[in-house]
């Protein structure tokens, strides 16, 4: 009787512990695939640059491309507004060029694989945020938007490069 009582308690404890901790086991982050993608991208495209994020954002070619992307975003049209963006490359002579991405959706955009010029590399990326409205972030329909960049923006950016977001306030946010 003694042994069976002890066994019952021990079994109960183990069972409850297993049930209690199982969500933590199931919820382990599956970040391996993302990490390997980023590592591969970094190998394909060397990321070192002598330019600061501010120098990249203020480069005339980059500013022109960001202005064009903002215009293409149709930010003032509540029905058709969408994100635009592109890669920023530095060529072998240190000049910056831009390769635009295909147009995105209302609040997201996919970056195609970078194709820097021969001898060049990725130094940054930019995209537009047409939804946030000053002063409180609410759009015409009263939906609340937070000013970016989002965690997904930061997580998707190639390591060591500069991320740039433009919004309707006219400000440029670096990340």
């Amino acid at each position: 009787m003694k042994a069976s009582w002890r066994s019952f308690i021990a079994l109960l404890c183990v069972l409850i512990a297993c049930i209690a901790w199982s969500p933590a086991v199931v919820a382990l982050p599956a970040a391996t695939a993302v990490d390997s993608d980023l590592a591969l991208a970094a190998q394909i495209s060397p990321l070192a640059s002598n330019k600061t994020p501010e120098e990249i954002a203020n480069n005339p070619a980059v500013k022109d491309a960001m202005g064009a992307a903002w215009a293409d975003s149709s930010a003032d049209n509540a029905t058709t507004r969408h994100e635009e963006g592109g890669w920023i490359y530095e060529d072998a002579d240190g000049n910056l060029t831009v390769q635009r991405w295909p147009a995105g959706n209302r609040s997201s955009i996919d970056a195609p694989p970078p194709t820097p010029p021969p001898g060049g590399h990725v130094v940054g990326e930019f995209h537009t945020h047409p939804n946030w409205h000053p002063p409180d972030g609410k759009d015409e329909a009263g939906k609340e938007w937070k000013k970016g960049p989002s965690d997904e923006d930061k997580g998707a950016k190639l390591p060591g490069t500069t991320g740039i977001v433009t919004d309707r306030s006219g400000n440029v946010t670096l990340y």
């Binding site: 512990a17 209690a20 901790w21 609040s107 997201s108 990326e125 609340e144 937070k146 998707a156």
Partner: protein, 101 residues
């Protein structure tokens, strides 16, 4: 002596239950669970009609008085935002719904 041993075993069992129960995804206080919060948040986002939940993961954070449920993109190449929903832990009411971009 035997009675004492039984009490010790029983005490150990109760202690383990008390220590592990809060980690089981339950509120432990009679409120709604994280799974219920996800269901509420999903319905709120679908009813709001701003963002589709296709191609998104589901994440939930436990705060002091509410569950923070959000739906980040699954694809690592996507730049973009998510719906974020705060669900009251006691009542299950949606206390905030906002979007990132």
């Amino acid at each position: 002596m035997q009675k004492m041993r039984h009490r010790i075993w029983l005490l150990m069992g109760v202690t383990m239950i008390m220590l592990t129960f809060p980690f089981a995804g339950c509120t432990g206080g009679g409120g709604i669970t994280s799974e219920e919060a996800i269901t509420i948040a999903t319905e709120a986002v679908e009813n709001d009609g701003v963002m589709s939940l296709d191609g998104r993961d589901t994440e939930v954070l436990e705060e002091a008085t509410y569950w923070h449920v959000y739906f980040p993109f699954s694809s690592p190449i996507t730049r973009g935002g998510s719906p974020h929903v705060f669900v009251n832990k006691t009542s299950g009411a949606v206390i905030d719904l906002y979007y990132t971009e």
